[in-house]
């Protein structure tokens, strides 16, 4: 694939999830301002009414982030694009379900993408080396990743810092589960520890992460 640099616009992006990433300048909208988190919600609301133009903008906002996450789990680029395509169509179909009172639009879409990615990786485990590169420190810095905006980079550091506040064992369990796509039972087996211990580590680790990231509980 062609590597495309982002047209990073620092003055326009005000929040971490501003999504100031335009991997395909040639298909970017006329709107020079990258969508903010609130715009993601606004776009999704318009998409729910069948607005294809809003969907086009939403694609620009979310597709590179979805692909980043899905490929981190799946590794294989072609399969990851297939999954992202499925998720995007699911977003189109189910946009009316999104409830802004129950979370951020970006979270809603990335949750769908993560779910599909782990479904795929579990259905095709043999085709993938599941033991490599699952940690936060290994988050894709591959040659064809889009250049990050300062905001995304800051956000990455923030998550990395929050992850550093977990105990090593908690972090390992959370990373294996979320980025590795392993079930809690598989994690227990891999680490040769009781399932109950894995559950406790996941729970305590995620609570700590939630606190460190300042997400309201």
């Amino acid at each position: 694939m062609t590597r495309v640099l982002s047209d990073y616009a620092p003055e326009a992006a005000t929040t971490w999830n501003a999504g100031a990433v335009h991997p395909e300048p040639e298909v970017a909208t006329d709107d020079a301002t990258p969508p903010t988190a609130d715009e993601a919600t606004a776009l999704l609301t318009r998409v729910a009414t069948g607005d294809q133009r809003a969907f086009s903008d939403l694609y620009d906002l979310i597709a590179p982030r979805m692909l980043g996450l899905v490929r981190h789990v799946l590794k294989d680029h072609a399969q990851s694009e297939e999954v992202v395509q499925e998720v995007l169509l699911e977003v189109w179909q189910t946009a009316s379900r999104f409830d802004p009172n129950k979370g951020k639009a970006v979270t809603w879409m990335l949750t769908m993408a993560h779910r599909r990615a782990i479904d795929r990786v579990r259905s095709a485990q043999a085709s993938r080396d599941r033991d490599t590169k699952i940690g936060i420190r290994d988050l894709g810095r591959d040659v064809d990743t889009v250049s990050e905006t300062v905001e995304i980079s800051i956000e990455h550091k923030r998550v990395e810092k929050a992850m550093a506040r977990l105990s090593d064992l908690q972090r390992q369990a959370v990373e294996l589960a979320y980025y590795g796509g392993y079930t809690q039972s598989e994690v227990a087996e891999m680490l040769n520890i009781p399932l109950g211990t894995v559950k406790t580590r996941l729970r305590d680790g995620l609570i700590r992460l939630r606190t460190e990231l300042g997400v309201a509980s």
Partner: protein
Amino acid sequence: MSSLSNEQLETAAAYALGALDADEAAEFELVLALSPELQREVESLREATGMLGAATAPVAPSPGLKQSVMAQLAATPQLPREDAGAQLAAHAAPVDPAQLAPAHTLAGAEPATEIPAPIPMSGLAADKARMRWFARPATIVAAAAAAVVLFFAGAFAADLVRPSSVNQQVLAQVVAAPDATVASSEVAGGATASLVSSESLGLSVMVFDGLATLSDDEAYALWYITGDQISPAGLFTVDADGQTVQVLEGEFVAGTIVGVTVEPASGSPQPTSDPIVAIVTESA
């Protein structure tokens, strides 16, 4: 701070991280659908896992991907906002009636030989038996169709629409029916039972949470009680977590009472013990 059990909190965390396998996730989603408090917990945990997701470096999709997705929009129907029932219906896999094995088989217990036909009851025995069903007052909350959909749809409808078992597929269909009704009741011992039913489909499904496990020689029995007739509606057992979804055998008619008793594992033609719960449905 919370009335959620430690186990529920742990399961919520594993769920938010995607660390449950398909069966575990399906079971949890049913509990989730019934607990607004648990839903709030999962939503909050998901904001944290969402940030894990957002922390990965963005990757540029192939130039053709956008075109491909955009080209499919016109042919991809969107789910309407108002009619949540139709949303579920649009996703629910069609259920092949032939797949509907007897409940006791689905539950993993020994198959019983034959389901006896309803036996009309009369006289003293009937009165005595009927009295059992009302001896234990139950809190019953019946809701209209719209509320049923809210009850199950919420933010988690997308999870319910990928059911992993036949029982759950039927549940999704019943929930999606325009005349779906739900009634919930406490079960002795702190468990909850919810009956989701649809007269137009002639189906009802019991969703239990916290039901005690039984000894190997016992099973839970479901009964449809209409007037003087008590008809067996299937046997089932529960796993250690006490959560289960059970489609009732036979045709559901509005106004029927649904009862649950503990019976020998081989089943009984008529109830032999007091009901642990009885749910009265409203007449059509």
